[in-house]
Amino acid sequence: MLNEERIRLMTRMACYEAVEGRKNVAIGNYFRGDYIGLQVIKSIISATIAYVILFAMFILYDLEVFMADIYKMDLFGFAKSVIIYYLIFTAAYALISYGVYTYRYTKAKKSLKIYYNNLKKLAYMYDRETKK
C-alpha cells in the first residue's frame, strides 16, 4: 500500500534536496571552523591573484619611468610598501569573506536542522508501517 503522507513528505524533501538542499548539505558536511577556514584560504588566494594583476597594471602604466628609475630607487623600501599594501588588501578581503561565510554556514545549518527533523519523521513513519 502506498502511504500518501509519507510520499508527500518525501516529495517535499526531494524538492529541497534538488535545489537549495544540495548546497546546504555540502556545507553541512564540514565542521564550522573547517568550512570557514577553507573558504578564507580560497579568498586569500583570490586576493593574491587580484593583487598581482593590479600590481602588474600599476607597473605597466609607468613602465618607462619605472625602468629608468630602477637603479636609482630604494628597492628595499619599494618592496616593503608593496608587501604592506598586499597584507592590508588581503586582510581586508579575508575579513569580509570570513563574515560572509560565517553567515552562510549559520544559515545552512539552520535550514538543515529542519531537513534532519523531516528525516527523523520519515524514519518514524517507516517504523510505524513495518510494525503494522
Partner: protein, 319 residues
C-alpha cells in the same frame, strides 16, 4: 484592476504549466538581445557578428546556467575589443577578471545584475536597475549594480575614444594603455552614477522593508528621486554633461517600469512545477509536483435563459 489580477493569475498558470520550455526561451531571448546590443555598439570583429554565431551562442546559453550568459557576453566584448585594440582588450580583461575573482565568487545570484545594468544603459533606461535590485535584492546587490555600471562606462569610454586611439602610432602601445586607464579613472560621470546607484539600491531596500502601507511604492519613488538628486548634484559639482530632460524622463519611466515589474514579477510566486524522483524499499517514485493556485481565474460560462414555451403562448394569446 480585476482584469489585470485575472490576467496575472492566467499568466502564472501558463508559466507553471510550460515552465520547462519558457525558462530556456527567456534565457535565449536575453542572450540574443545582449549579443545584438554588444555587436551593434562595439562590433569590430566581423566573425562574431555573423547570425549563425550569435544564434548558436544564444542557443547554448538557453540550456546553461544564468551565469554563463555573463561569461559569454564578457567573452564577446573582449573579442570585439581585441580586434579594435590590444590595449583596450587588456584593460577590459583586467576589469572582468577582478570582477570575477573578487566579487562574483560571493554572490552567484546577483550576477545577472552585472549584465542587466549595461544592457539597460544601452536601452537608455539605466535608472530602473538600482530600483529593481533594491526591491528584490539585498544591500549587497549595490556592488553588482556598481560593477555593471563600471563595465558599461569602461567599454563605452573605449568605444567613444576610438578616433583618438586610432591616431596613436603603431608602437605607442604604452601611451594608448595609459590614455585608456587615465580616461576610465578620471571619468567623473562614472563616479557620480556609481554613487547615485549605490545610494538608490540601499535606500530602496531599507524603505521597502518598512512596515508601512505602500512601502514598495514609496521605496520606488524615493529611489528615483534620490537618483535624480545625486546625479543633478554631481552634474553641478563636477560638470558631468548630464542631460537633465533625459534624466527626468528616464527616472519617471523607471518608476513606471518598476511598478509594472512589481505587479507582474516581484509579488507573484511563479512556483515552478517540480519533477523529482526517489525510491524506497518497494517502489521507485517519479513525482511531478504542481503548485496549487489559490485564486482561481473565473471561467467564462455562457448561460442561456430559455423562456418557457407556455409563457410565450400565453403572451401571444394576450395580444
Amino acid at each position: 484592476m480585476t482584469n489585470l489580477l485575472v490576467f496575472r493569475e492566467q499568466l502564472k498558470k501558463f508559466y507553471s504549466k510550460y515552465e520547462l520550455y519558457l525558462t530556456p526561451f527567456f534565457k535565449f531571448l536575453l542572450t540574443l538581445v545582449t549579443l545584438i546590443m554588444i555587436n551593434s555598439s562595439i562590433g569590430y570583429m566581423s566573425e562574431l557578428k555573423k547570425a549563425p554565431v550569435v544564434l548558436v551562442l544564444a542557443l547554448m546559453c538557453s540550456v546553461l546556467p544564468m551565469n554563463c550568459i555573463v561569461l559569454v557576453a564578457a567573452g564577446v566584448t573582449l573579442g570585439h575589443l581585441y580586434k579594435f585594440s590590444m590595449e583596450c582588450a587588456l584593460v577590459a580583461l583586467v576589469v572582468f577578471l577582478l570582477l570575477f575573482i573578487l566579487y562574483l565568487r560571493f554572490s552567484a545570484k546577483d550576477t545577472i545584475a552585472v549584465l542587466l545594468t549595461p544592457l539597460c544603459f544601452m536601452l537608455k533606461i539605466p535608472y530602473v536597475v538600482p530600483i529593481a535590485m533594491g526591491l528584490v535584492g539585498t544591500p549587497v546587490s549595490a556592488v553588482s549594480v556598481a560593477s555593471g555600471a563600471i563595465v558599461y562606462y569602461t567599454v563605452s569610454y573605449m568605444v567613444g575614444s576610438a578616433p583618438v586611439l586610432n591616431t596613436f602610432e603603431e608602437d605607442g602601445a604604452l601611451e594608448k594603455f595609459r590614455y585608456v586607464i587615465d580616461g576610465i579613472l578620471g571619468n567623473r560621470a562614472m563616479y557620480v552614477t556609481l554613487a547615485a546607484f549605490v545610494a538608490a539600491v540601499i535606500v530602496v531596500y531599507f524603505i521597502r522593508r518598512l512596515s508601512v502601507d505602500y512601502a514598495w511604492t514609496i521605496a520606488m519613488v524615493t529611489g528615483a528621486l534620490l537618483e535624480v538628486l545625486v546625479l543633478l548634484f554631481g552634474d553641478l559639482m563636477y560638470n558631468t554633461n548630464l542631460s537633465v530632460a533625459g534624466l527626468i524622463i528616464g527616472s519617471l519611466l523607471s518608476v513606471v517600469l518598476a511598478k509594472i515589474l512589481e505587479f507582474f514579477v516581484f509579488n507573484v510566486d511563479y512556483s515552478r512545477t517540480e519533477y523529482v524522483q526517489f525510491e524506497d524499499d518497494e517502489y521507485y517514485y517519479y513525482v511531478k509536483a504542481i503548485p496549487k493556485n489559490t485564486v482561481a481565474a473565473p471561467q467564462k460560462r455562457v448561460k442561456t435563459i430559455r423562456v418557457p414555451e407556455k409563457a410565450v403562448r400565453e403572451q401571444e394569446r394576450d395580444r
